[in-house]
């Protein structure tokens, strides 16, 4: 039997006995076959000795059980690692940063405690997936939408706590921002509620976020200060209509005014849906079409187009630009979406066209104009997450196809935040493509466009493959760390990352001689003196492990 590090076999056996009293024998996992299921399916250490693994797992089904488990863990100094549904593939999955920790699997805590239609919010436990919440809403014919990432199999709570994003209106697709109120089991076993929930018999817990006094919710995201056992979310009322349109621009130099106008339109609420940047001329699809691209293959190019792509430098070629103008293939195509009453979205689109018309030669196209709700069976005709429908089609990306003959064994997401302007897109491409070439990394091999999940910043979300060859994986891991460092030198930091990269990422956040990291450790020492919760998450190590692990 595997034993957690720093724990004697005798103490672990006693702890397991006490855990069994709390959750029952059925919900304790110690066999190798069981624990293999908690390995990171996309581990960049695939089958190497350094692969992060659990030594045990527990699956409680209530907050009270979690509190008891935490008290026992404190008594025996058992390191725990909390997961909601463990689907964070590409960012570490269910494997603990402190290898040998006992996974606290909250999947069984899957109650939807409330969905309030008039005030458009939900209160859920961590084991509730986007599919679960969607089905609950559909079955009761409630007129609210979820905002789901892609794929939608993950935990609503877990995704928000890792600060993930989705695809509908701005207010909802920043999943942490759209939360309202939390319940947390602290490392002491005490139970805390934040915001208005700190008032017993609170009546506005999911309506007013900040309560009074210091607002602590943020410290429980991407951290190891507590175990979130309930979380509230604001939901979008089901819109009456959905409009999906494009703005096409002919010239390379149009990128900057395109982004500036997008920023104005978003910040003025002319458009609130997920903007999606693409380049038909460079062959860079919008995120919403990547599945189709991977399922059906890239669009066929004529020989002239293919040849001209070979002459592109940092996304630009004058000859390619001329070809595009001649053939009416845009250099850039920005996808915009609008939600609301039909008369409102049509007016918003009209206003957006007026603003984008300042770009010479801009062309406009309506792609989809839907009265809602649509028949759920038809949702797969669209990019489902933009209609609030969870899906697993994203897994077609990376499947073996004639145009992708050697799919990877998984991937690690490289996710730097860059400024929201055209010049930054070009500069980031220059910096990262040069670095990736020198490091022989398969990133930025062509001009890449960032994603617009966040209203006020861009994020690149690019996959570095995990292969079957440990030597290649080692090179890619080291190269990934170098790219993180190079990004930091240019003022760009990751927004989220897998455990193996959490230290190099947090090292970039070094203002004031790493003042942020020192405060993280101060909080850790105060809140979790025995260091039992998720040691090492985002490089926050408990005191007793700093000498060896940091």
């Amino acid at each position: 039997m595997r034993v957690p590090p720093g724990v004697t076999q005798a103490d672990y056996a006693k702890a397991l006995g006490e855990f069994e009293r709390i959750v029952g024998r059925d919900w304790i996992f110690t066999s190798d076959a069981d624990l293999d299921l908690y390995r990171d399916a996309y581990s960049p250490f695939l089958n190497e000795p350094e692969e992060l693994k659990a030594s045990g797992a527990l699956a409680p089904d209530s907050t009270a059980q979690v509190q008891e488990i935490v008290r026992i863990a404190n008594r025996y100094r058992i390191p725990l690692y909390t997961i909601s549904t463990g689907k964070n593939l590409g960012y570490g999955g269910s494997a603990p940063p402190y290898s040998g920790s006992v996974v606290l699997d909250l999947k069984r805590m899957n109650r939807i405690l409330e969905v309030n239609e008039p005030n458009a919010y939900a209160l859920v436990e961590p084991g509730v997936s986007y599919f679960d919440l969607y089905r609950y809403i559909q079955e009761r014919k409630l007129k609210v939408w979820i905002d789901t990432p892609d794929p939608g199999w993950g935990s609503v709570v877990g995704n928000a706590l890792d600060r993930g994003g989705g695809y509908t209106a701005a207010k909802y697709r920043n999943h942490f921002d759209s939360h309202c109120g939390m319940e947390i089991v602290l490392p002491s076993g005490e139970l805390l509620r934040t915001g208005m929930g700190a008032i017993p018999n609170a009546t506005t817990w999911q309506q007013y976020k900040t309560g009074c006094g210091p607002w602590l919710d943020g410290i429980f995201s991407q951290s190891n200060y507590g175990i979130v056992t309930k979380m509230g979310f604001w939901l979008m009322p089901e819109p009456e209509a959905y409009l999906r349109c494009t703005v096409a621009a002919e010239r390379f130099e149009d990128l900057s005014p395109l982004v500036e106008t997008l920023n104005y339109c978003e910040n003025s609420r002319i458009t609130s849906g997920f903007p999606d940047l693409s380049s038909p001329l460079l062959g860079y699809p919008p995120i919403g079409q990547v599945q189709l691209f991977m399922e059906n293959g890239p669009p066929a190019l004529d020989n002239e187009h293919r040849a001209l792509l070979g002459g592109v430098k940092l996304g630009y070629s004058a000859e390619l630009e001329s070809y595009g103008i001649r053939k009416r293939i845009p250099y850039w195509e920005l996808w915009l979406s609008f939600y609301g009453p039909m008369e409102v979205v049509e007016a918003q689109w009209s206003a957006a066209q007026r603003h984008f018309s300042k770009i010479r030669g801009a062309r406009f196209r309506i792609v989809d104009q839907l009265k809602l709700p649509i028949d759920p069976a038809k949702a797969s005709d669209y990019h489902e997450p933009e209609l609030g429908v969870p899906s697993l089609r994203a897994f077609s990306i990376g499947a073996r196809t004639p145009w992708n003959p050697t799919p990877s064994k998984g991937h690690m997401w490289f996710s730097p935040i860059i400024p929201r302007n055209g010049a930054a897109i070009i500069e980031a491409n220059r910096v990262f493509s040069e670095a990736a070439r020198a490091l022989e990394m398969p990133l930025f091999q062509t001009f890449c466009l960032p994603a617009c999940f966040w209203e006020r910043a861009f994020v690149f979300i690019l996959a570095t493959p995990v292969t079957e060859d440990p030597a290649t994986n080692r090179r890619y891991r080291e190269g990934f760390k170098q790219l993180i460092k190079i990004g930091g030198e240019h003022g760009w930091g990751e927004y989220r990352t897998a455990p193996v990269f959490q230290k190099p990422v947090m090292d970039v956040y070094s203002f004031g001689d790493h003042a942020l990291h020192r405060l993280h450790e101060t909080l850790k020492d105060a809140i979790d003196p025995n260091g039992i919760l998720s040691a090492g998450r985002y490089a926050i190590w408990p005191k007793h492990l700093r000498g060896t692990q940091r």
């Binding site: 059925d26 919900w27 549904t85 199999w153 797969s380 697993l392 897994f395 990376g398 499947a399 073996r400």
Partner: protein
């Protein structure tokens, strides 16, 4: 659901043996060697691939309920597997791509089911197909 309902030596184990036979003979006629009493709740195949279709043909001959996918498992999981797995019912067998199996394995574990057998068919297939059994674990 009681996780310990599963007992080795029942459907899953038999399914595993039979599956191995099916996987080996997936190109061509796959029917021989399957223990007659074992009947999985569903057999999943990927309609895009010849070997997987052959697997499905063998399954149909056995009278198993057969379900087609084309890479995407969403509808299969929502409409067929999740309801069955939520009640602890149904060993499921299949021949799909590794990526589809990855999805199903992750979803199955949410219902405390696991992949108990996985085998790559012989024959130098162009696509990374894998034959598998998911059962209560």
């Amino acid at each position: 659901m009681n996780r310990r309902d599963f007992v080795w030596g029942s459907t899953a184990a038999a399914a595993g043996v039979g599956l191995a036979t099916l996987a080996r003979t997936a190109i061509g006629d796959p029917a021989s060697g399957w223990p007659g009493t074992a009947r999985p709740g569903a057999a999943v195949f990927d309609a895009r691939f010849d070997a997987s279709r052959a697997f499905a043909a063998g399954a149909r001959r056995r009278g198993w309920p057969v379900h087609a996918i084309e890479g995407d498992v969403t509808a299969l999981w929502l409409d067929e597997l999740r309801p069955r797995w939520a009640t602890g019912d149904a060993t499921v067998v299949g021949m799909t791509t590794e990526r589809s199996l990855l999805c199903l394995e992750q979803l199955a574990w949410d219902q405390w089911m696991r992949v108990v057998t996985r085998r790559a068919p012989r024959g130098g297939l162009a696509h990374s197909l894998v034959a598998w059994v998911i059962a209560p674990g």
